[in-house]
């Protein structure tokens, strides 16, 4: 293995700001600070922030079976371009990742693929059918770190209860897609003044808040660690906070798009903005942003959900749900929250590093001797316009096309090797 030096960057992790140093990496782990000596590769990190690579607990990599949208290679490379060193992939693929063999295959293929590390999630129900539980223990043994039917809410409360009981005993995290399927019905956007004006079928906030309440109650009842994915509304955060304060072992995720876009975006009738749960009102976005400050929200997950352009050019009723986000998440949130003075940088980093690690029960990522050399170098001064044509993801279309964003990953290192470099 090679020896790498990152020279002259400001080193920051969840334990604090270490100041400007040369950081040495060797054999896939952090060797130390300012050691000197010969190196095989060196990177000039002066003027940048050197910090642990981000963790994304929520990405749709579409592999196996939907490689036209994304595959392991493009998805893990896109994650690296977004500054991520670890990605939890969702199981709503074709076939569904509901079998230990599929998990093992993902793990094996990812090990041969450059980019972020893969920690796959497995399905909660066979075929995402919502009827029979998958073999949690065997899936865990094959490498699954999370159980989730994400993409499809688990309608059957009894099945969810049994899933929580099994997961609790095995120490697996369950991630929910908390929307009441009957209440959201065929809604394609947030229900409210905008959906009524546009004549688009609405999906009310209560579809989310009701299901969050159920899922939080089942977590409390069973002791399972339940991660509430992509909470999108003020009411949803209120319900989840109340359950959390009452001792339910739940954690809460928000996404970059729910923090930055509102349902007014749908007035363009552009299915790029069609996502589940839907983009909410400006008041919801403001509430979510405020909630980032306290301890209520545990992590930011990208819910990176790539689709082909042809799919996203279908009509508003037929186009699939999802936004491709993983490459722009940091720049977007740095620009709109940190550079705008609305959130301290340390808090944003926490929600991308220590926060998700704690959700999973993993050690907090640190720039410490012997820790895995998973590192992102951030140029907080760099301003670039988002150009979809140059995205690494196969989904070369984005709501932020042409938007100038500030603060970009310029180098991502995983296990001591550069997996992304921005010139």
């Amino acid at each position: 293995m090679s020896r790498v030096a990152l020279r002259g960057g400001r080193l920051v992790d969840g334990s604090g700001d270490m100041g400007v140093h040369d950081l040495y990496l060797k054999d896939g782990v952090i060797e130390g600070l300012d050691l000197g000596g010969s190196v095989d590769v060196e990177h000039d990190a002066s003027g940048t922030l050197v910090t642990p690579a981000f963790l994304d607990l929520h990405a749709h990599l579409r592999d196996p079976g939907q490689e036209v949208k994304e595959d392991l290679a493009s998805g893990l490379a896109a994650a690296a371009a977004g500054g991520y060193g670890t990605v939890v992939s969702m199981a709503n693929t074709d076939p569904v990742v509901d079998d230990p063999g599929l998990v093992a295959d993902l793990v094996a293929r990812a090990a041969r693929t450059s980019g972020a590390r893969l920690r796959p999630a497995a399905a909660l129900s066979r075929g995402l059918g919502g009827e029979e539980l998958t073999d949690f223990a065997a899936l865990k043994a094959a490498g699954a770190v999370m159980i989730t039917d994400d993409g499809i809410p688990v309608a059957d409360s009894h099945l969810m209860r049994r899933a929580c009981e099994y997961a609790a005993e095995l120490g697996l995290v369950i991630q929910t897609h908390s929307e009441d399927p009957a209440l959201r019905a065929k809604g394609v956007m947030n229900e409210g003044a905008v959906s009524h004006r546009l004549g688009l079928p609405g999906n009310p906030v209560e579809a989310e808040s009701l299901m969050l309440f159920r899922d939080g109650e089942l977590a409390r009842m069973t002791g399972a660690r339940v991660h509430l994915a992509h909470v999108s509304s003020k009411r949803g955060i209120e319900v989840a906070s109340w359950l959390k304060a009452g001792g339910a072992p739940i954690t809460i995720e928000v996404t970059p798009h729910h923090l930055t876009l509102t349902d007014e975006s749908l007035a363009s009738f552009d299915p790029l903005y069609k996502v589940a749960p839907p983009l909410r009102s400006a008041a919801d976005v403001a509430y979510l942003r405020d909630a980032l400050h306290g301890g209520v929200i545990d992590s930011i997950g990208t819910d990176h959900a790539p689709h082909t352009l042809a799919e996203k050019e279908r009509d508003m009723l037929e186009a699939p749900f999802g936004i491709s986000t993983i490459e722009v998440t940091f720049a977007l949130l740095y620009t709109e929250l940190v550079a705008a003075g609305a959130l301290p940088l340390a808090r944003l980093l926490h929600l991308l590093q220590d926060g998700p690690a704690a959700v999973m029960g993993w050690a907090p990522p640190r720039l410490a001797v012997g820790a895995p050399a998973d590192i992102v170098v951030l140029d907080l001064e760099r301003v670039r316009e988002v150009d979809a044509a140059h995205l690494t993801s196969k989904a070369k279309h984005t709501p932020w096309q042409g938007t100038p964003l500030r603060g970009w990953p310029v180098l991502t290192v995983v296990a001591g090797a550069a997996v992304f470099e921005r010139r």
Partner: protein, 344 residues
């Protein structure tokens, strides 16, 4: 030369020398009619005025002018609607435009061709204007982003049906008279008038477009129906009121429009029964007694007689329902003319 020259044109040469756009104050560069967002009152009145000229054309022995000769109008119907399509095609042919018809039923769309690929194909056939009907709200807006041709929305999902609203406004204005019996010019016919729209507002593109148009023209719109079909938060727009009591909606109204009640709404749990709907919301001659003097009864068609509207009322003296259908042609002529001649 003004748009009235169309009616007076006695030969093709005169008509071909029409101005680049109507002398009426339509804004140049208006490319599409998708909904009424951003349309100004003077532009809307100009469309109604142009439609009056077109109506004169249709009273002549030879009901055809050469105004749109050389233009190709393509009707692009992703959802069946024979009535609307025929009305548009009649409007195009009466101005000598060539007409192409695409309907999804007999097309490659069912074989998986995308809406955008369909458009690419038709663009190669050099259509100048697309008349689009689609089951999804916003589809005409998507198509308008992808083509250089003009796009007219002929109904998109629950969102908008702007030419239906224009013909409703045209019919309403034509029926209104001042105290001396004279016609009311411009937007005067609308100012301060109450228009009641009754029925399944939530699922109605006609209702949405009428709300936009009538309030822009200075009228007040009252939306009425059961709470499941007229959500209270519907349209927080000045000039719009919501009530769930029919008597309250109709009182003092200058027009009462009944919307088609689709039976599948009951299956969706939005209504307990037809009987209950009829009892509470059917527009009847009895209910109409509290409306303003000379109030007209409208319906965008097709009607469920004795469901949303009392059959005898639909056929009675207050009804302008047949005139609505007839007025569709001159109104659509005016829309095609305004958008296409503006592009020359």
């Amino acid at each position: 030369m003004s748009v009235t020259a169309i009616a007076g044109a006695t030969d093709a040469a005169a008509a071909r020398s029409l101005p680049q756009r109507p002398a009426a104050p339509a804004r140049s560069g208006r490319r599409h009619l998708l909904d009424f967002t951003d349309w100004q009152v003077d532009e809307l009145v100009a469309l109604l005025d142009t439609a009056e000229v077109m109506a004169q054309v249709l009273t002549r022995t030879i009901k055809k002018v050469p105004a749109l000769q050389g233009f190709t109008v393509a009707s692009l119907f992703f959802e069946d609607s024979t009535r609307t399509r025929l009305s548009f095609e009649r409007a195009a042919r009466a101005q000598s435009a060539d007409v192409m018809t695409f309907s999804a039923g007999g097309s490659s769309l069912k074989k998986g061709e995308s809406m955008r690929d369909t458009l690419r194909t038709l663009d190669q056939l050099q259509a100048d204007l697309y008349v689009v009907r689609h089951p999804a709200a916003g589809a005409p807006h998507q198509l308008a982003r992808w083509t250089d041709a003009a796009v007219v929305n002929a109904g998109d999902g629950r969102h908008a049906h702007p030419t239906q609203a224009l013909l409703d406004a045209y019919t309403f204005r034509a029926a209104r008279r001042d105290t001396t019996g004279a016609a009311l010019p411009g937007a005067e016919a609308f100012r301060g008038q109450r228009i009641a729209i009754v029925g399944d507002v939530a699922h109605s593109r006609v209702a949405r477009s009428n709300v936009e148009l009538f309030t822009s023209l200075g009228a007040e719109v009252v939306l009425c129906g059961p709470p499941t079909l007229v959500p209270r938060e519907f349209l927080d727009r000045p000039g719009v009121h919501v009530t769930h009591r029919l008597e309250e909606a109709v009182e003092g109204a200058a027009a009462v429009m009944a919307l088609r009640m689709q039976r599948e709404r009951m299956a969706a749990g939005l209504l307990p029964s037809v009987t209950e709907y009829v009892t509470r919301y059917q527009v009847t001659s009895r209910v109409l007694r509290s409306a303003a003097d000379g109030a007209v009864v409208m319906h965008p068609g097709p009607m469920n007689r004795d469901v949303e509207i009392e059959s005898s009322l639909a056929d009675g003296p207050a009804s302008v329902i047949e005139r609505q259908v007839a007025n569709g042609v001159p109104v659509r002529m005016a829309v095609l003319y305004t958008l296409l001649v503006g592009r020359r």
